[in-house]
């Protein structure tokens, strides 16, 4: 996730073995990431440009991409805000059951997403525990785009908490006390003293939560409703293309997702690098 420090390239180092470790890293990365992704690109290239753009810019593909990326962005923002609060509570306060709650944060990592999807849709369905309470208020979550956001918030939460938590724990309390003695108001302390060094960590957590949400399939299809142009996510469209035995069209959608995700993550990385320079804090 970090931008490589270009100064270490080829300069003689006191620690030997860079060549070997770099070679290993590249070989490993190639096997696990680059070759499969390369195959994706090659497969969509076999379509030819005209056919590729027809499939990639098909209104339904665009609608699905909009749903996927829109819902993922909303979910990542929600996670950034509430993940920060959750991390704050876990770092700064002591209360009974804290260790238990702390370990529960990781559950969405471990849980099969389909299980999460089924449980969430059971809870938010009009006859479920939450759904039954919201229905009289005219709020429907399950089987609407809102349901997608709920599922994505669930799967993305641990990323923000787990990236912000250690930075928050390292944060010097004396800075806040100094700010207070110098006459800063609480809002000023939060805005000018506490938040700036947390920004890179929050951004990392945001980017991870976003990335996870974009690729999410299992938890979403149970709660989304899956109506084309309304609540159909891009990964489902990929599965639909596969069901048509149309591998090329599936990779066309996949490569669109890949390109957009990569651009977004690159942008987030650049903002992160900038904020690190600006505030001089490492994650």
């Amino acid at each position: 996730m970090t931008v490589a420090d270009s100064s270490s390239w080829k300069r003689p180092s006191v620690i030997p073995g860079f060549g070997m470790t770099f070679g290993f890293a590249m070989a490993y990365l190639s096997l696990i990431v680059l070759i499969p992704l390369g195959a994706l690109v090659v497969r969509s290239a076999s379509l030819g440009w005209d056919e590729y753009w027809r499939l990639a810019l098909d209104p339904r593909t665009l609608a699905a991409l909009r749903t996927s990326f829109g819902a993922s962005l909303i979910a990542a923002v929600i996670n950034a805000v509430f993940g920060l609060i959750l991390a704050w509570v876990l770092v700064r306060y002591r209360f009974p059951g804290k260790r238990l709650i702390d370990s529960m944060i990781d559950l969405p990592f471990a849980l099969p997403t389909a299980v999460a999807g089924i449980s969430l849709s059971a809870l938010y369905a009009p006859n479920g525990w939450f759904g039954a309470l919201l229905e009289p208020l005219g709020i429907t979550i399950a089987y609407r785009p809102a349901g997608i956001v709920v599922a994505l918030v669930f799967v993305g939460l641990p990323f923000v908490v787990r990236t912000v938590q250690p930075v928050l724990a390292d944060l010097d309390r004396e800075l806040e006390e100094a700010a207070a003695t110098l006459g800063a108001q609480r809002a000023q302390t939060i805005w000018r003293v506490i938040l700036p060094p947390l920004v890179p960590a929050i951004l990392t957590g945001f980017a991870l939560a976003l990335a996870r949400a974009i690729g999410e399939y299992g938890s979403v299809i149970f709660i989304a409703g899956n109506i084309p142009f309304v609540s159909e996510i891009a990964p489902l469209l990929i599965v639909i293309r596969l069901e048509e035995f149309n591998y090329a069209a599936a990779t066309a959608v996949a490569s669109m997702m890949l390109a957009i995700s990569f651009t977004m993550l690159l942008a987030i990385n650049l903002i992160q690098a900038w904020s690190r320079r600006r505030f001089g804090h490492a994650v």
Partner: protein
Amino acid sequence: MAVAVTALPATAQTRLLNVSYDPTRELYRDYNAAFISHWKAKTGQTVVVQQSHGGSGAQARAVIDGLEADIVTLALEADIDAIAEKSGKLPANWKSRLPNNSSPYTSTIVFLVRKGNPKAIKDWDDLVKPGVAVITPNPKTSGGARWNVLAALAWARTKHGGDEAKATDFLRQLFANVPVLDTGARGSTTTFVQRGIGDVLLAWENEAFLALNELGPDKFEIVVPTISITAEPPVALVDDNARKRKTTEVAQAYLEYLYSADGQRIAAKHYYRPSKPELANPDDLKRFGTLKLATIADFGGWQAAQPKYFGDGGLFDQIYRAK
């Protein structure tokens, strides 16, 4: 998953892998037991039948991608056609190798409604009324759901005297009443039954009976429309795999036994309509409603129907064009 088998008959165990779709679990559990004892009595050989269940299209893809099925028993002819076409592991004329288009049992599409039928749903035109929510899986991801669409079309064609535009319009109205498109038939059943969404579930007859048995007839009832379609879930030997695994003979026998009295009786017991009803238990047959049944041949066969209705840019895609 697949285990190598020695060629020596009677000494070694023979393993058969039957790759099937979701709602046949109960059926094949019974049938496998019957076939194993039949084969043992006939040849002295012990067969072990392994079952794999999943969405019909996904199962077909697994076989194309190398899952070594000796036999496929899927929801749609088009799925086996895809295996023949994409992998060449069985000939294109597979359908003519067994009686009845290689479908030893059939089913049809019926409605499952809530007890007392509060929305008074009797036939297909009741499904497009305002305020009626219809649950069906997505025909793009579910083989079963394609039969739902064709059943609706069969009714609409009869109603509108073969006017294709009106029939398409009926389908559009029908899907406008669908609030949730699950990816598979079991998902739709869950949405309707457990989540309480929708007024009517379009389901295979055998699935509807299963749901009724599971959940009690005090909660749901089956409504048989005037017109539906004969859903033909076909079976086929995957020649190349069977040859490689040296199971051709027993795999062929496994398929043929489906047409025997035993096979037909078991199919009827599990709410499939047997292709030779005279061999089945008459009490089982009494449970099926009577209705007019179209067939896939009325739609020009799956080779024509698949791209026309469910392919990329086909009728189903047109229904969901951007508004």
